[in-house]
Symmetry: C2
Subunit: 372 residues, 2 copies
Amino acid sequence: MQAKPKTKAPFYAVILAGGRGERFWPVGRASRPKQFVDLFGGKPLIAHAVDRLRGLVPPERVLVVTSRDLVPATRAALPALAADQILGEPQARDTAAACALATAWVAWKGGPEATMCILTADHLIADAAAFRRTLRAAAAMVARRPAMGLIGIRPTYPATGYGYVELGGPVTGAGLPKGFRKVRRFVEKPNLGTAATYVRSGRFAWNSGMFAWRASTFRAALAEFRPALLKATDRIAAHFGRRSLARALEREYAGLERISVDYAVMERARNLVAARGDFGWDDVGTWVSAGAHFPHDAEGNAVHGLAEAMAAHGNTIVNAEAGHLVAVLGADDLVVVHTADATLVCPKSCADGLKALVKQIGDDPAKAVFVR
Amino acid sequence: MQAKPKTKAPFYAVILAGGRGERFWPVGRASRPKQFVDLFGGKPLIAHAVDRLRGLVPPERVLVVTSRDLVPATRAALPALAADQILGEPQARDTAAACALATAWVAWKGGPEATMCILTADHLIADAAAFRRTLRAAAAMVARRPAMGLIGIRPTYPATGYGYVELGGPVTGAGLPKGFRKVRRFVEKPNLGTAATYVRSGRFAWNSGMFAWRASTFRAALAEFRPALLKATDRIAAHFGRRSLARALEREYAGLERISVDYAVMERARNLVAARGDFGWDDVGTWVSAGAHFPHDAEGNAVHGLAEAMAAHGNTIVNAEAGHLVAVLGADDLVVVHTADATLVCPKSCADGLKALVKQIGDDPAKAVFVR
């Protein structure tokens, strides 16, 4: 943590693109998770995630970490990336392992003083320029200070589905970018009343799951809090650029702890700073929140694809099958999602139960298990 | 009306199978109306209508009157019928014309003293044996008397969607079958309160649209009330069994009045008698009433085809596409109908609006008109 900052060290962007598709079932699937869902702006979310980095990092400094099964789909969605810019994890081991692996890769490519950001693949960001400004500032901050930067999001409503961080005083110093705050504490998903007090106080930000750090800084934190993970990823790193990489990943991942980077590192670290992001961040976590991004008719129906709503109000209707007609008559506040092999109907108020439905029947209609 | 009854005159069964498909959209279509809908007992309603005649009339004494466009589909559904047992009307002219045409056909085949019944193709009948007993009795009645028999249905609830007939005293006489009543008057679809008094009184029956008469008796009624129609169908009858039939139908139908047999003849006739049918007659007029005939799960969901209902109650779910999965989550009292090219979602309470929906968008998804 005492390494002298190299102000000209390269900046890398890492996109974590594991994730599952159940919250967007039946468009999303185990084999086609959220980052491949093509409902917004004509391309999958992961392509948006890479495209919005233009002007921030050169394409060769982008790394995507996904699951091994999804590597072919990821390559297909991101033809501009070289093969070694997509790492496939043999097992899901949550974000601590993915961040450690990504940091090892960045250090291998750019040296230990390279800076990097950890980004997500399954969010919409309305103001990409503001997003890039925030990340540029975070890169400058972590280049100058051995700190770990968390991209906090200014909360716009009392969300109960996100973690929050409580912000402390401003981070000041010669040459440091403005607007960073110390992080007092992490808070788990609060109830509605607590969330409302957080929003009113102005002292809290949503934890976006996006971070920035220098490779050496994160490695030092791993050495302190998760030394076994650091050693495992160092052993993997010896195989970067070699055909033996897949086997090394296989060997090491089996023994890795399944834990988020928040629990494993961030909540314990004392060198955390937060940027307050304000760039129209939307995790489009459910069909209901996704609907906000679709065209709306005069009756407040959010419609994606070919559909007719008659005497119907406030529905979210997604039709992903060309040539098929979805008609909603006289119904209010439903989610209706149609694909070539499955159709979902549920009230908006029940959209959170989708995970349970997919768990029960399986996400593949050809293999669905019906309980009667 | 004074012709001597021939007790051994043959008995014919005529099935009127015009009709439209909009109340069963999207399974029913203009090109696949209700009688072809294959939702009950593994075959289309029209095949049920013919099959339940077994033991009542021999197959060669069955006539189906349908629209010209539907003749190929009707032949395909009823391979046991000869080509001349299916008559295609070039235009829809309501039931008076269809009954007059059918009566001319029966007189051509069986002579003027042949007896016949007029049946429908789009109903379910739970007790086919009781149905045949009722028709056998009606055949005996109209063979012995120059009367027109109406198959009344004992009302089981105060329906507001059917016409009623008020029954008078019993029809008695040597050799006459039992259970027939005189008909006092026809009543249009009543409101709920009136319907309830009808049901309570025990003096009313639903007008099933099924009738029985001797050909000569109906021809006499036509001569009295609709002479132009009788003349037109006599002109058509000269072409039965000849290639010129289609052109004769075309020529005569263009000028025919569009009127129901109830308005044109039955409500004016004085020689009407009613059988009280009690054989589980169900007009399955809507998706909601159709649902009663589907298997039900423990939560009262009526399900036809592959579907999963989770935390959902009282829905009618029809999935007519093999390999497709319909999932209803957390919703109550919806109608969800899926076919390969269209999906309908509406609350049960709005199922009556289906006609308006189909009118607005057209019933063919490939040609649907979207109003935005």
